[in-house]
Structure formats: C-alpha cells, structure tokens
Symmetry: C2
Subunit: 452 residues, 2 copies
C-alpha cells in the first residue's frame, strides 16, 4: 500500500506549521505543500519592519528554504503552484503551474489559503500602490521606496498594519497621511487607549484623517497619485499602501462545497476539520471560537495561524489535537508606544449580551522613583457575574506583556474578585507595588459592587 | 458610645495599608499607628536603589508623611513608639516612648511588626556593618559609603536582597564579594536560571563564594573588618552588608499567647485574623497559604504585605475580606538581567509530594530579526495531573512580566494542556511567534506524555 499523501495549500504560517507537524508525527506520509507565490516559510508579521529598514536583510525573515524543508524535513514544497480547484469526489486538487493545470491526488488536505485585502479600491492597480500582506508586496514596496525616493506617503486603513506601515514610511522620512474609513483608529480598542495612539502619531507628524473612505485612485500626468476621498476631498501622493484589513481567501473552499461560517471564513470544528471529512483548514482563511463570547470570530493573526496549523497537521497525520479558540489578543507597537488588547471592549461586551462595566486607570510602568513611564489600563467586566471580559494597555514599556496576564485570566474565566488577588511579581524596576492591572481590577470591582 | 479604636503596630507596608483601608471603610473609627522607628510609609523595596544612588533623594521613597496621614486621612501615626507587650485580657498594648512605657487600649489590633535579619553574626555590631532592611539602615549605609569611601565591600547572604546590595556597591565602584552559606545563590531558583545569574555577576566583577558561612566579624587595628568564614578562610573588608534573609518578628505576638505557625511566623486565617479574636496580622510577620502546595509558607515581600494589610484593615473595620494566598512569585534585577520565579521548583515540587517533570528552554525575548535577547524559561509540571506547578525566567528583557503570566496560570490551577493554548500576544518587537512560555510548555507536555 502506498503512503498516504497530505496536500497542504499555502506555504506560510499555517501551511508550513501543518506540514511540519504532520511530518513529525508521521514519517511515512507523503507531504506536498503548494504555494502560489515565490516564497514560503517567512515571518509575515515582520514585513512592515522590512519596509522600514529596521530589518535590513529580507533573508532574516525566512525561517526555512524549500531546499531545507525537502532535505531535512522531507516536505515537497512547490512555489508558483496555485491550487485552482478542489474536487472532493475525486480527492483531487487542480494545480496551476505556469501555463498548465495538473491534477494532484490527496488523501488528506489542509487549506491554508490565507487572507486577501478586505476592500478593493478603484485604481489600486496604478504604479506606486502597494500592499504589505505578503513578502512579494513588501519587497516591491521597499524597492520602490529605495529607488524612487517618494516624498508623500498615504496609508489607506488605520488598523494596526496601517499604523505599522505609517511608521515604516516615517522611518524613511516620508510625509505620511493615514486615511481611515471609520471614525477611529485600531478597531476594537477603547477610545481612552486610542487617544494615546493618536497623540503618539501626531508627535511623529503622522497626519490622520478619520471618516475618510477612499473612492478611487488616479494617476496624474506628473506621476503623482490622486486619491479621491470622502465626498470631495482630494489628496496627492507619491506612494500608497493599502492596509484595509484582511478578508479570508475562502472561495476555493466554498466552490468545493466546504461550509463557510457567518464571518465568511471557513468553518471548522475544534480539530480544525472542515465540513468535509479529511479536509482541514487553518490560519487567515478560517474563523475560530472566541472564548469570551462563545461565538465565532474572524481574527487573522500569525500566532493563531501557527497554532491552528499545528493542530490541523497533527489531525491530518492521524492524531487527535484540538485548538480551543482565542480570546482576541493583539499587541502592536506605535512608534515607542506598546499597545495591546485582549477579550472584549465595553461595546463588544454589550453587543455580546453582557452587562459591561469599564474603568480606565493611569498608572506607571515601574515605581515612580525608578523612572516609570505613564501606563494606561482599561478593563471591562460583567456586572452580573463579576467576570473579567477584556482589557487593554498602552505604555512605552510593560504594556504588551501585561496584556498576556489578562489573556491567561480570560482563558481561565476569572472573576475580578479572583483577579485582584493574583500574586504578580513586584520589584521597583518592573512596576509599582500595586501592579497597574491590580489597581484597575480593584477599581472595577468597586464599581461593580461585588467586593466580597 | 465612644468610637472604636484600632491600634496598628508597624507603620510601613502592611501597617499603613491596614490603617488606610480601615479608614476608607470606617470614617468614625479612631486609628492609631505605632512605629518604633523614625520613618513610616516608605517604599522598602527601593532601599537598595537608595544605597546605589539610582534613587538620589530619600524623599522619593516616601509615600505619605505622618502629617499628611493625620490631616488627610485622620490617622494618628506615632514614630518612635514601640509596642513592647500586648495584654489581650485588658485589650491593651504597652508602648515604650522614650524612657516611659504607657498603656494604650484597643478594640481591634493589627500586628504588622515585620521581619528582622534571620541570622545574627557575631561581631555584627562593629562599625562598618550594616543591614538594608529598613530606611534607617539604608540611610546609615549610604552616608557611610559617601563619607568614608570604602574600597572593599562584602555582602553576607546571596539571596535577592544580597545581590541587589552587591549591585549597589558595584554601582559605587567598590570591589565586591558575596558570601553565601549554602551552595547556591537565590534560594528557590533552578540551577539553570541560577547559572545565568552567576555569569552575570562575574561579568560585573562581583566575586561569589558559595558554601561560605560567616563565623564572626572582627575589627582590625587599621579599621578594616576581618570576616572569618568557613573553617579557616579570612577576608578583609571596609564595609559589610548583612543580607541573611528575614525572619518574622513574632515574639510580641507569641508572648501574648497568639498562635505561631510551623514557619515561626504568626498564623492567621484567610481574613488575616490571628488566633485571638479581633487581632489581625499582616506582612513580614505572618505566614501565608501557598496555593500550589496548599501548605503554609513564609515569603516576606512588600507586595504581599500591602495586600494582606488591606485585608486586615478591612476586617478590623468591620468588613469581611479575604487574602487567598500566594503562589510564590518573586522578580528581581541582577544588573541588566531580569530574573523571576513563581510556584515550585522541581525540588520544591518533589518535597511537596508531586511527581515533577521539568524543562529548560533557551529562546529569545523578541523575534531574532528584531534584535531579541537570549531568554531562558524553566517550567515544572506534575506528571500525574498534568498541572503546571511553577516556572522561572531570565533575560535582559521580557522576563519579569512573563513570570506574571505563569502566576495567573498557577492561581487558575491550569494544566499544561490548557496552558499551551493560551492566546498570548505576538508582534515582532515583543517576542518570537511562539512565545517562549508556550515553547517550554509544549516541550514539557511532550515529556509528560499527555499531549491529548
């Protein structure tokens, strides 16, 4: 009997995690990874740092080469191979390579098709317009910045990728404007945290225009790009980065009859199996369970993609692993400012049917006499159950990792009354004697009136 | 009917937390704080930084003055008032002030008598020998360092206070030797973490002698201090810091018939009430519940003292608060290195009756391409239950706050199988894509063989 064949569609975070995990568990299995682009196995979360030049050498982002993966892990990794159709009845994938389309049989399949820009903007195919979703896009942008030395940069989209892109352009000394369709930056952040982000952007001369949906982009005769924005506003740029967020690439799955969820992403069970037996999916193409709301969400992040890929690969190789879900943790850096969130905002909690109460506390990253920096914490809890529902932090130090303490507490479904007694470490170089998280939790507990 | 009187013995962390909390809950109560020293309400954990000069002005350590506490909080705070006897039958405290001893009645009593050096060394009363347990000692040491400009410093005791003291002396350019009675630095740290600490000390020219119990200290005719150490070793010094750890000051309580625990510290219930009704105790004079072992421990730390004091004060004022216990979290800085622990070591877990397994993993504080620093994690879990029992970290960045994630997980009694799925934040400036905590947890789970 020939070895089973696992085909993995997608060769970045989720796909290669799946392939590697399957190989670790099952030395016999034939494992093929199909990547439609030129590159596999790179740190996609570092792309904006490649654009800025903080990461000088693109090679630094590569984890493994296709040759390494073949020779050392026994994975057949094919770049420029695009899966164009899945035929479940035949257990076949139709694969385009160059001009030809060939059929490839599979026994097990992992879909790691990733995400694509969420919005298309008319005229976005003009020269000088880039995305930063994949390595090819980031490299093209980087080359453009180096060779053409543009002066005026516009970032379309004020999410965390948009802000990282804005910082990258400032790092390269461009004038930068961020255009955000909605009325706030950084989706799912509390206004009190968002305010610090806005102030920090202003300090670094990044202009931000909110409520500014882009209608179309035109090329002017002098080579400038003209952005038509809102009702009648017009803005000229030399380079544009599209950072309008990700939508799942789920069409390949949907066409094959694989069920999508309400979010438009592929629905899976906790074993990352789709509605088709033996077909798994992971990463930016799937929705996942939010452990605070109990409902499905689409939160495409590299770290989740790696974890889900691992689970998909293990199950595809005959194992039995589960990915329990997420609590919505996101951390990012806006110039010097660490910003992070986990769980639900007040508004998100209310929309999910909780009775949320919220506090925001200004404290310090360390004891004042040790030069602590201002640190802001915002916490949300449920009035009726006393349960912690979410939290956010901002500071020049000590914010990102404190978010993880909240993430652990959310996974454990802690109440505030439990949280306030956590035995968090204290030393003057690392925090004030009452950790800001505990100060905020005490204040929220008092507000909720369930102190005992 | 006159107002109830609360007497608090001790005016630093636990004592003032108790007094302040009682006042917040009960505006009528008469609240008296007795402090035998000259100073109240200061950040005792910053004392070594005062010695080093990192904190230039002692005033920076003061939280509130006695005058502030009287005028703004309505607390009667008396310095140089030493409680010398408790007479429970009369509800009286005998208080020495100057030459006289006066009786003071109480309705409720909070003992916050703190700790004292754990070991006495013969000859420790010589000029040039200091402790760093309280502000008076730290100020005397600081003055000595400034005025006498000693060259050769010896620290007796290699716990975290001893190492902070050694760093303070190096900061002031002294030659420094640390003498540690036992065979390792930093009690309750794994050897793998301790090794990094030793290396860091060596890099900063701090000599360390292990297995070096000090027999006695003598003054030489030239003013040098001669330390007799071990069987026949002798060492000369110009200044000595005693940092042999803390023992509870529990004699006052014991003499009054208040029950002590097996650790020698005052035993309390979860409400911080001693064996005498209406008499509470908190801080460095009490033992507390270790939430991992379920047994009593003596771990004197400022952050715990504040929390326990708050609970004691609330209950003394007629409230009903509890302090659930600790998980043994400790973080400290050894020159550039952040070091921390929480929960049990392998040896501690074994002594507590668990079947411990351990891993140590070398990772990085951030993505390698973002300049991450080496980071070491050691985790301990129970083979039979899969439960996480403890963890330790060391790194130049990102170690201390990651310990808190473990502390939260320990409080929630998480298993490794739960821990590996935590939704910890990821961005290249803050960590590798698999957080070092998760990498270590996966490896330990694999070792335990309970992957599913």
């Amino acid at each position: 009997m020939p070895a089973e064949r696992l085909v993995v569609i997608g060769g970045v975070a989720a796909g290669l995690s799946a392939a590697s995990r399957a190989r670790a568990l099952n030395p016999q299995m034939e494992i093929v990874v199909l990547e439609k682009g030129d590159y596999v196995s790179y740190g996609a979360c570092g792309l904006t740092y490649l654009v800025s030049g903080v990461v000088a050498d693109p090679a630094a982002l590569f984890v493994y080469s296709p040759e390494y993966l073949r020779d050392k892990r026994g994975l057949y990794v094919f770049t420029r191979h695009e899966a164009v159709e899945i035929v479940p009845g035949k257990k076949q994938v139709q694969v385009r390579r160059g001009q030809e389309v060939v059929a490839m049989n599979y026994d097990k399949l992992v879909l790691a098709t990733g995400g694509a820009p969420a919005e298309s903007v008319e005229g976005a195919d003009a020269a000088g317009v880039f995305t930063c979703n994949d390595l090819a896009g980031a490299l093209a942008l980087r080359a453009f910045l180096k060779e053409r030395r543009p002066q005026r940069g516009v970032v379309i989209g004020g999410g965390y990728i948009g802000l990282e892109a804005a910082e990258a352009l400032r790092h390269r000394k461009l004038d930068v404007t961020v255009l955000e369709r909605s009325t706030s930056l950084l989706e799912d952040f509390e206004p009190e945290i968002g305010q610090w982000v806005s102030e920090r952007l202003a300090q670094h001369q990044v202009r931000v225009e909110l409520g500014a949906p882009v209608r179309h982009i035109d090329s002017a005769p002098d080579g400038s790009l003209i952005i038509s924005c809102g009702e009648k506003s017009v803005l000229a740029a030399d380079v544009i980065i599209l950072a309008t967020g990700l939508a799942p690439r789920s069409a390949l799955a949907a066409t094959a009859g694989i069920e999508l969820g309400a979010t438009g992403a592929i629905r899976t069970d906790l074993r990352q199996q789709t509605s088709l037996h033996g077909v798994y999916a992971a990463g930016d193409c799937v929705e996942t369970l939010h452990l605070v709301t109990g409902g499905p969400v689409y939160v495409p992040l590299g770290t989740t993609a790696n974890k889900q890929g691992r689970v998909a690969g293990e199950n595809a190789a005959g194992g039995n692993a589960t990915f329990p879900g997420i609590v919505g943790t996101l951390v990012t850096k806006v110039f010097e400012l660490e910003v992070g969130r986990t769980g639900l905002t007040w508004a998100g909690a209310r929309a999910a049917g909780f009775q949320p109460e919220q506090v925001t506390v200004d404290s310090r990253s360390r004891a004042r006499y040790m030069g602590g920096r201002p640190l802001r914490v915002s916490l949300v809890a449920d009035r009726s159950s006393g349960r912690l529902l979410g939290g956010q932090l901002a500071s020049e130090e000590g914010a990102a990792r404190r978010v993880d303490v909240l993430a652990a507490a959310l996974s454990a479904r802690m109440t505030l009354a439990e949280f306030v007694h956590l035995d968090l470490g204290y030393a003057p170089p690392f925090g004030p004697v009452y950790d800001p998280l505990l100060i905020a939790a005490w204040q929220l507990l008092k507000k909720i009136g369930r102190r005992r």
